[in-house]
Symmetry: D2
Subunit: 319 residues, 4 copies
Amino acid sequence: MKRMAVLTSGADAPGMNAAIRAVVRSGIYNKIEMIGVKGGFEGILEERLESMDAASVGSIMQRGGTILQSSSCEKMFTEEGQKKAQSILHKYEIDSVVVIGGKEALQAAALLEKTGLACIGIPATIDNDVPGVTETIGFDTALNTVVDYMDRIRDTASSHEKTSIIEVMGKDTGNLALWAGLAGGAENILIPEKREDLHSIIEEIKQGGTREKRYRIIVVAEGMMSGAVLHEKLTKEAGIESRVTSLGHIQRGGAPTARDRIFASRLGAFAVDLLLEGKTGQLVTVQDRQLVNLSLEDTLEQRIEMDESVYQLPKKLSI
Amino acid sequence: MKRMAVLTSGADAPGMNAAIRAVVRSGIYNKIEMIGVKGGFEGILEERLESMDAASVGSIMQRGGTILQSSSCEKMFTEEGQKKAQSILHKYEIDSVVVIGGKEALQAAALLEKTGLACIGIPATIDNDVPGVTETIGFDTALNTVVDYMDRIRDTASSHEKTSIIEVMGKDTGNLALWAGLAGGAENILIPEKREDLHSIIEEIKQGGTREKRYRIIVVAEGMMSGAVLHEKLTKEAGIESRVTSLGHIQRGGAPTARDRIFASRLGAFAVDLLLEGKTGQLVTVQDRQLVNLSLEDTLEQRIEMDESVYQLPKKLSI
Amino acid sequence: MKRMAVLTSGADAPGMNAAIRAVVRSGIYNKIEMIGVKGGFEGILEERLESMDAASVGSIMQRGGTILQSSSCEKMFTEEGQKKAQSILHKYEIDSVVVIGGKEALQAAALLEKTGLACIGIPATIDNDVPGVTETIGFDTALNTVVDYMDRIRDTASSHEKTSIIEVMGKDTGNLALWAGLAGGAENILIPEKREDLHSIIEEIKQGGTREKRYRIIVVAEGMMSGAVLHEKLTKEAGIESRVTSLGHIQRGGAPTARDRIFASRLGAFAVDLLLEGKTGQLVTVQDRQLVNLSLEDTLEQRIEMDESVYQLPKKLSI
Amino acid sequence: MKRMAVLTSGADAPGMNAAIRAVVRSGIYNKIEMIGVKGGFEGILEERLESMDAASVGSIMQRGGTILQSSSCEKMFTEEGQKKAQSILHKYEIDSVVVIGGKEALQAAALLEKTGLACIGIPATIDNDVPGVTETIGFDTALNTVVDYMDRIRDTASSHEKTSIIEVMGKDTGNLALWAGLAGGAENILIPEKREDLHSIIEEIKQGGTREKRYRIIVVAEGMMSGAVLHEKLTKEAGIESRVTSLGHIQRGGAPTARDRIFASRLGAFAVDLLLEGKTGQLVTVQDRQLVNLSLEDTLEQRIEMDESVYQLPKKLSI
């Protein structure tokens, strides 16, 4: 092993910096020359490569975002892009790459691995939508961010006896909305995995709850519908006025939680260990506190299951 | 003095609970019977009156919103409403009222005072738009809330080299936007008091800054234009893509800051002291740490001045 | 099932309120009459029992501490105490009890179960020292609290190039110190499970690090030694001045994290489900996101293992 | 004006970085060459001088501590030290200095000014003990930090019906303790300015409060006595058990509040403006939102007055 590169790709997630720190310092600890790629896979193609030492990743663990910056990675899905990336990395004598990012980033890592480079993927996205992985880096922080906002919105909703709609990120999945809704004590949660429940939920809202509750918080996943659309539906179909808050990109920021920092630190060091052992094409994760590696290619094909019992829980608890 | 009532009116603001606590406990300390009105001025008309003791306001200081709930107060602007309120308060032998709220609430308090009731107003609104008063209860908390979000948005904006627009509350004024923009290190601040600068600011954004900055945060007051409209303008007139975050009602929530709690505690106790001294029709505030009372009627007519030097400051500091 | 009681025992932990809410609302949802015991097991003996409805647990999920209050439970370790508790619960027609607390509380629950009552234990303690359970309610919040303080102490330590000692709770275990040290980027972590490393760690501190670091943060578990004692050792044996922060009871407070709220909500509802199914003498927990129940008696005998790889990790990452 | 230096001296305070940023960027905006001194006045003597540009102070406003680092400044109180500092600054063609720090730092600045250098002082200390100045940079952040801890301690105190002692910084003054006690709803506040009240406060604690309160929070300023000493007094003289939390250096850390950032930004820019106008030997501050400059020499001689009405307020409000 000569030189190892590390990059972050796709939407940023809190904890990416802790992962970068762990990869870089573990590499250096193992006497590997470490290279940071700026701006994601694009940065390979543009040869934005920087040598990194232990100090380059000092005091970054507690910061949101990614010091290596990021971008989307469409070009890696073309044969041309893959070849160019491979040849540039070859030119710089880089023989292994750690990719930190969401599902697309990990797919791109799998494709890059096919060109002969040793690649390990670290799942990091607030959407928590990577198959085979119960939790991604950034999810815990985003969850706490959303729940903190729900607490704030409840302050003001309860002062005015209002219905509040909170639109939460998550792309095609309702993962963030579901868990945030449970933790924030939402009265209703609308997620794309349960699209069929829309009608009955609106009926229930129309009826009011089981006891005289003064206010109601509804969490809706962006993959289900926008807060604005739900607002209109509630007005038209239930005759209920509501206020919409769309949390937007705030959900990506903030100092990572302890859990995300620990998670990122362990996965980053483990990725380097695997590369040193000659492993490649792997996804790293934690299962019940144990480090685990899975085949990138096989895992990304899998379906993500929603936990039905978690979905049912708020119905009992928000009575 | 027989019985004193306290109510919160209009949009809620963090620190209202600390003010309620101070009014109630100061009253009880002075052997006055204290009555809480639920739901603002509407609550008088609906006779939602509750006796309050020292324990009724225990552990509320640190909570956002208002335990007395609130509503708008249109009816108090009709003679009929004023008379009805007066007669109900008379029926319950309430001879003095402390009103906690924004400009409209204070205007309503001035009108109620005309009916012969002793009234003191405590300015509380995150908009900080009460004439004659340098700061209202809730402003400091909202300011910190907005700045905290700006820090989070910067995390993610700097990871993607993006332009971010943050829409901030404030009704007709740019107070919250201006001070938050300064504290959050915004590159540009658009406020209704400086509507004429729009063109030159868009020109400046088009040119880029003085050095190669990777991202730009623009704060826009809702009274100037919505974030969505500014987004469209930037796309069309400057060819610049941006992301919009509209903070919405989150800005009203959250545990009040130390400053808002202190402010509210001092004003609440002072309001009771004034009523005990036979003062009425007054607005209470703090000027350079000293408690001050001003005539409600005279003060609310005044114009609010914007501090030009504060508006100019970010231009120097965000270079 | 006629009446079900719920109580919190031992040191309080953030998330206890979320667990109480889940138990009470799940019970009511299942048409069970719910009784809250005030002041822990002592509260049974003193007959401090209160009927609870859905509203009694409204808006408590986000609050630290326990609305049911708590106490230690020595009397439950005497036969007399157990008998008295059983007979009082019998008198009030309470046939099942949910106990929320740490190791001692769960042992007391196991003893109470022997008297013929249906008992389920929910592990809640910031110390995370319950055998058979990878995580207890409150641990995640305390972890974030400690790490937040470490971030603050680093601010000031790095401004003065100082060595800082942070003393962390955890009774006989180093669990909280270990994970907080990893997440907070501590240079050294001293825990009772690795008492033998003390000498070599002091040697290392004496030598300074591998590169010129300006400051050093040392986390010490209270079960290893107090911060004051370590301070003295460093002065005498290494000639190094340091500042000590003992976080104390702050570590128990604060709004619970999303994770602790979710965890508590799931365990609380699950405890009620088990009682409804006729299960008793069980401890509830989550293993890789799945709800699991274990025998109270068998589990509490087990030893807790420390994860050696986690202990080694900071040595690589704080270079 | 050729070259302007900026330094931070004494204990660090949140907001110092925002002041550094404002000084440096204002200087550059005005075409002045800016020099950062590392490590306070010591850094002058050790010639640790660095050229600074707009980017050197990027993304520092939200960080606690001081990027320029700090130290105490005893040597500046000797004639030799002053001469040496003057001659080194002369060698580097630095003709003006902005000093950011507490009372001692400002006294040192006054002495340096006597050697013929243009000096402006910016008051920054969490102790808020600078004469003539109602508020110093860092005070608002420290206040919020202490109050946040008080909220946490109340969580756990109220769960166990305990008496809690919180020891707060402030050197010889009780400023931080007093305002934090008011904002945090402390039942008792002990400060050096009111040393004579000790006996009556202990009597009052012995009696218990006016109504059955379950717990009590006592804030004690370090200048009055340590928390440990008070604990012992309460045990011996009142027979009351208590728990002590000494917040220590955590009080210096944390992201500065919006208010401290604004305050620091305005003072920093104003300091540069004054130097450009030829003013020297001045202290800058804000009085009721207006920028003001005062003579360093005259002001530092003044006494600080405690606001008696603020001291009396918690007695009414914590009933």
